[in-house]
């Protein structure tokens, strides 16, 4: 491998990582945009998503990486897995909002945020109790297709991650930008009271934000599993923290910002691992975050918003 090959390969690695972080970052940003709440349960909704996806794939009779599917069965299994995982995670997100956070909405201060940390730990421990604390071999039906690009290699799973992420992010952008409910979301984000006066059902909007964020986290969980052939109860914290960083880096509350932030964190992680040392990746990622925030406190794409009254 020449240096160009290595760089190209790291771009491929970084974009795949980044796509995953971006999907997760969107969940933070959607909820924050509307409620100004940092939803820490999101970390482990993602993790639960990867477990749900694992059980769905196992229900199709897949185990480990030994059963390979192609053609229609592959597409069918993947579509079903994405649909079930995203709906189930969306339902978890809605449940967290409806039953745990809504009663707290009138409470000022950090109570709601602390509650999400609690929910995160509950999910985490439920998974340990329910499926054990060992690492899991995530079933993967993808054929081992790969295409050489010079000395670098592009694998089917990377193409899949990019395609799914693009599709979901495109869908979300369309939804937020052009649908009625999306417009209601943006209106609520700008000024909940005015939105309510204009007839926007704020409760429904908030629930939608939680549903979408959690569903995207579910998709992220499934993608994580397919990419690494692995899942464990612990994956939420690391990925979640980076995704959260991505959301802040891009400008929390800003949808394109979350995507940009995710991709950037992914690329930074890949390049720092390759050219410095993996032991330094976190230092570099978080130093860049600090620098960006010092010079652009609202993040790369965020605007310093006037205080909501």
């Amino acid at each position: 491998m020449t240096l160009t090959d290595v760089i190209l390969q790291q771009v491929i690695n970084g974009l795949s990582l980044g796509a995953m972080y971006a999907l997760l970052a969107l969940g933070f940003t959607l909820v924050y945009g509307i409620l100004e709440l940092i939803n820490f349960s999101h970390f482990n909704v993602f993790m639960v998503g990867s477990f749900i996806a694992m059980y769905v794939l196992q229900a199709f009779g897949l185990s480990g990486q030994t059963t390979i599917l192609t053609g229609l069965p592959l597409v069918g299994v993947l579509v079903a897995a994405f649909a079930v995982t995203m709906l189930a995670c969306g339902a978890i997100g809605v449940g967290i909002e409806r039953f745990l956070l809504r009663p707290l909405r009138a409470v000022k201060g950090p109570a709601a945020m602390i509650l999400t940390i609690g929910v995160s730990y509950v999910l985490f421990n439920l998974v340990i109790l329910g499926s054990g604390a060992d690492s899991k071999n995530f079933p993967n039906p993808l054929p081992a297709l790969q295409w050489p690009i010079g000395g670098a290699v592009l694998r089917l799973r990377e193409v899949l991650i990019w395609a799914v992420s693009l599709l979901l992010m495109g869908g979300l952008t369309y939804f937020v930008g052009y649908t009625k409910l999306g417009k209601a979301m943006r209106a609520t984000a700008q000024d909940p009271e005015a939105a309510r006066m204009m007839g926007v059902e704020v409760d429904r909007v908030i629930m939608t934000a939680f549903f979408l964020g959690a569903a995207l986290a579910g998709a992220g969980g499934l993608i994580f599993g397919l990419y690494y052939n692995f899942t464990s109860f612990i994956i939420g914290f690391n990925a979640g923290l980076r995704a959260f960083t991505a959301a802040v880096l891009g400008g929390i509350g800003n949808v394109p910002g979350a995507m940009l932030g995710g991709l950037m964190i992914g690329l930074i992680e890949a390049f720092s691992g390759a050219f410095i040392a993996t032991a330094w990746s976190d230092v570099i990622i978080f130093s860049i975050l600090v620098l960006v925030l010092v010079f652009r406190p609202a993040g790369l794409l965020g605007r310093v918003a006037p205080n909501k009254s």
Binding site: Q9, L17, Q65, A133, D134, F230, T278
Partner: protein, 414 residues
């Protein structure tokens, strides 16, 4: 049942003996000898912990059934040194466990831990409490090295005994094996940032360099991170003959999976941290196929010695899983404690912590791996390191360590 009246009597009794100056020990006539069993029961190495724990429980149950130490009954108490937030072993939890053990006067000896990081945290506390532990699996040499005695056994006497040898042999002997037998010329080395992994990789690296191999680089994996593709791509570009990994399952499982994708043709090897059912199950075939791993003990489970065969069958009958070599060392560690207690008792002395500790330094115990004896630092006198390779055998469960790891022989000593 402890009624109020009997509780009162007991309390009065304690007060009376205290005033009369009768030894507390004489009063504690319940004759329970508790054994602390410290393992990483939660997380990435949970299955290995269960296998080891079973071996210990089996040994003490047998001793109780045979009335090996007349007048005493062994009770094994489990301690989990892993925490959910760490996802694997956690030295801080090990320290808490060691304090609990030391403060429980009924605990006369311990078995464990399996993780050197935990061992480093536990050893000074055990030393202060004069409580001996025998580790069936932790191999970092520093803990028993007299050079670090001030740190790990401040009271001076050995408290950290082992029924496995250390990485001072495991790492270098594997370097010898890879260079002499596998004809490896260039190597990249990784570790998992833990005490065991770093020490193992250091020992390996030093010997590999001494033997003239070209060490192309060294990097550290974060066991909590999911993605190692960056460093693996870097390794791919360097094109080494082999990759050596010092570390345990949490990073090892992901490393096996991702290195299979990125550097499938490179020879991959690890230490005893890469010999586990967790790796086979969560790593899975084909990713783990071909990995080399070592054990810091002789290879016993495939022995045709009738005693081993009978033991192996009894273990499988009871626990429905196959024992591995560290189940043997755990069983052997338990035998050593039982033998020490028996000897002390036969000399007519009370079986206490310090008596057990002192006795462990002296005895020679016939065990499954042969006659075990310890030097004055607590290390086992035998230094055998066994080499294995993962080769899929469809006749057995795919997470069965004793059949999916093929024994290749003893690694050459330096």
């Amino acid at each position: 049942m402890l009624t109020r009246r009997s509780a009162f009597k007991a309390a009065a009794g304690i007060a009376a003996t205290a005033t009369l100056g009768v030894s507390q020990r004489a009063l504690a006539a319940d004759k329970i000898l508790k054994i602390g069993l410290d393992q990483s029961f939660t997380g990435a190495d949970a299955q290995a912990a269960v296998r080891i724990g079973n071996g210990v429980i089996m040994a003490f149950d047998e001793a109780n059934a045979d009335n090996a130490v007349p007048g005493y009954k062994f009770v094994v108490e489990k301690f989990d040194d892993a925490t959910a937030t760490a996802g694997q072993y956690d030295p801080a939890q090990g320290a808490i466990n060691a304090r609990k053990m030391v403060s429980d006067k009924q605990i006369i000896a311990a078995v464990g831990p399996s993780m050197s990081g935990v061992g480093k945290a536990m050893s000074p506390i055990l030393s202060a409490g004069d409580l001996a532990t025998i580790t069936p699996a932790s191999t970092n040499p520093d803990i028993t090295d007299p050079k670090f005695a001030a740190q790990f056994r401040p009271k001076g006497k050995a408290v950290y005994f082992r029924t496995v040898t250390t990485d001072a042999y495991q790492g270098p002997n594997m370097a010898n094996y890879m260079i002499e037998v596998l004809k490896v010329k260039s190597i990249y080395i990784l570790d998992d940032s833990g005490a065991y992994g770093v020490g193992m990789a250091d020992a390996f690296e030093a010997q590999a360099k001494k033997k003239g191999a070209n060490v192309l680089g060294r990097d550290r994996l974060d066991p909590k991170a999911a993605d190692y593709s960056a460093v693996l791509t870097k390794i791919k570009a360097l094109n080494p003959d082999a990759l050596y990994y010092g570390g345990v399952g949490q990073a090892g499982i992901k490393l096996a999976k991702q290195s299979y994708d990125i550097i499938p043709k490179v020879i991959k090897a690890g230490g005893d941290g890469m010999q586990s059912a967790d790796l086979l199950q969560a790593g899975g075939f084909p990713a783990v196929e071909g990995w080399y791993a070592t054990a810091a003990s002789p290879h016993v489970t495939e022995s045709t010695d009738p005693r081993v065969v009978a033991w192996s069958k009894a273990y499988h009958d009871r626990f429905k899983i196959y024992p591995d070599d560290y189940t043997v060392t755990a069983y052997d560690a338990s035998l050593a404690i039982i033998a020490a207690a028996k000897k002390i008792n036969s000399m007519g002395k009370p079986v206490t912590r310090s008596a057990i500790r002192d006795m462990l330094e002296k005895i020679e115990v016939p065990t499954l791996q042969g006659v075990v004896s310890f030097d004055s630092n607590g290390d086992i006198k035998d230094h055998t390191v066994s080499v294995f390779q993962i080769r899929k055998d469809d006749k057995f469960p795919l997470d069965d360590t004793s059949h999916q790891y093929k024994y290749l022989g003893v690694a050459p000593q330096s």
